[in-house]
């Protein structure tokens, strides 16, 4: 099946997969550097096919559209502007395929998350974990594994992570809540000697669009530094 999936990039880029295959391929390709690069190239190619049949719409469409977007809210960006700039800088210093895979991995949050994390059933965090409106989001990336559970009702979030390296002398991990205002520092932490950590933190009424983890000086930062080690986006 996996071998088959590798051959679906072209049909996928043309939207020529049926629903089931499309979902299978979308679960696969962000983790596959070859498929990610192929999808990007084939989409550029498809874009040129589209351009070859370009036809202006009726002139009055623009006025109607501009009226409609004036009343349409935009979604929160996954990462704040500064992080995009950093990602851009990082891209120039790295082979493209790797960045592609990382960027894609950041979007498909379910990727590569292996079980083995234990909820800590002690302290207040259990209230969040069992809240009726609790949302669980795995964070994906190239450092350990983590999951954030939060509840708007409880107005609190719990981060559960494992497999994290020592952040280094004078450094700490920082968790970022990303919402329509950008990235908000939400908590500094250092993992236990076994690389695991569970922390609870307030949401302060914020509505998370995404969560990210970086390494910062142990005094904390206003904005995340590169690289974003782990990130997960709400759908």
């Amino acid at each position: 099946m996996t071998e088959d999936l590798h051959h679906l990039a072209a049909a996928y880029a043309l939207n020529a997969l049926d629903e089931i295959e499309r979902r299978e391929f979308e679960a696969h390709y962000p983790t596959c550097a070859v498929c990610s690069a192929e999808v990007a190239d084939y989409r550029e190619t498809a874009g040129l096919l589209a351009a070859s049949v370009a036809t202006p719409p009726p002139a009055d469409l623009k006025a109607r559209l501009m009226g409609e977007i004036a009343d349409t809210r935009q979604i929160a960006s996954i990462v704040p502007e500064r992080v995009v700039d950093l990602a851009e800088r990082k891209r120039r210093n790295q082979p493209r395929q790797r960045v592609l895979a990382l960027a894609a991995a950041a979007v498909v949050a379910a990727v590569g998350f292996v079980g083995g994390l234990q909820f800590t059933r002690s302290g207040n965090d259990v209230d969040v974990l069992v809240a009726a409106d609790a949302i669980t989001l795995p964070l994906a990336g190239d450092a350990g594994r983590a999951r954030v559970v939060w509840s708007a009702e409880e107005d609190r979030a719990v981060l559960i992570a494992a497999g994290l390296d020592d952040p280094g002398e004078g450094n700490a991990y920082e968790l970022w809540l990303i919402d329509s205002d950008g990235a908000n520092p939400t908590g500094l932490f250092t993992p236990d000697v076994d690389g695991s950590v569970t922390i609870e933190l307030p949401l302060d009424g914020r509505e998370p669009a995404a969560w990210g983890i970086t390494i910062e000086p142990d005094t904390g930062s206003d904005q995340p530094s590169e690289p974003i080690l782990l990130i997960g986006e709400t759908v």
């Binding site: 049909a11 939207n15 096919l49 589209a50 070859s52 049949v53 370009a54 009726p58 935009q74 960027a103």
Partner: protein
Amino acid sequence: MGDMKPMGRLRSVGGRTSRSTEPVDEAAILAGILSRAGRGDQAAFGELYDATSALVHGIVLKVVRDPSQAEEITQEVFVEIWRLAPRYESDRGSVKSWIATIAHRRAVDRVRSEQSHRNRTEVVGRLVERDHDSVSEVVLDRLDRTRVIAALDLLTDDQRAAVELAYFGGHTYREVAVLLGAAEGTVKGRIRDGLIKLRDHLGVNQ
């Protein structure tokens, strides 16, 4: 043949890996405009619309074929682009391909949900014909158009039919296999080989 001259010049200057400086600048300008639109700048969004509305409307019209539906979907696509603009990431592809992906997807969703299979198979004969003259004239996209037509001519008839039925016809490769009376795996291969040929010839090489 007059149309072919820019193509020849472009190839000799740009080679396989770059497409002359003009489109590169255009891509960067579009990325800047989209980035401003993504921060809520409606005037920038208006510029984006001016630069890409023919692209969106053209591919939507090609897939759904009905002008009034195409207009409606074009509007939906741009509302979607406005909504999603903050999430566009330049390292995942050009603005044009991002927009074309959204437009094509929306058009395909519409034909797959609304039109009966039979309605759509009636036009197969027309779609696989090589009627270059039906391709619309749009000055801004003329270079793209010329290059694509030249590149499509390099495909075998089988590859071309599979790519066009899938992309312009909005069919899944399984549907294309039925339409062409070929095995699914064969059609999948033709689509792939055809796209690789187009990609290589059009200098899409990242």
